[in-house]
Symmetry: C2
Subunit: 137 residues, 2 copies
Amino acid sequence: MTDMHNNTDWLDGIKWDADGLIPAIAQDAANGRVLMVAWMNRQALQLTAAEGRAVYWSRSRSKLWRKGEESGHIQIVHELRLDCDNDVILMQVKQLGGIACHTGRESCFYQVFKDGAWHATDPVIKHPDQIYDQQHK
Amino acid sequence: MTDMHNNTDWLDGIKWDADGLIPAIAQDAANGRVLMVAWMNRQALQLTAAEGRAVYWSRSRSKLWRKGEESGHIQIVHELRLDCDNDVILMQVKQLGGIACHTGRESCFYQVFKDGAWHATDPVIKHPDQIYDQQHK
């Protein structure tokens, strides 16, 4: 049995950017919808693989961000992929609650380009006030 | 009729990074597969919308890159979306030739994480030597 937990070759192979980060795409494993893109540092990616749930690095808060820790909208990771340049991660996830976006929408990509402008098109499934604890706003 | 071509509000609304770039995801409109991620500057995004084909900014070559200009593997853009933070683009594309990756694979995301390592899993549809003019290699 190989000692997976001490093997960090798979992390060393990542082409981290100047800030030590890599962008990670979360794609809904059930319907193929691209839900969001966020960033991971080495520890976040390691924890994502170890825990089987998406863990990001919040650039605005400069801390690890276990997706769903406040909202409950956890992303269970079914598959992790890496691109040919080793600088983008793609995850197949099960999106708990069916909401990935902090605006209460299924996907963060809800603005569609049409007639020279961006239009918010997708419905808000749940109002953010009902998702997040008011104390934390 | 609005003057779409002189209206740049939709470009001004983008949150460009420190290098004036935004990452753009190309997703196959037919099968939902995430094909690749590359970068666009303001001109590349403007041209993508104007020409209806993916135009990226090559960071390694520091020049505009009309995807498929050498390979023929052009990406016809069906839809452009922007995420909630205005800092990632998602495109629904028709991938000509069925190959997005310079390795000759359908998608750039062909490395799957398993047992503590990345494994190249997807088949090479066409060898790069048959895709690219040898003079340009």
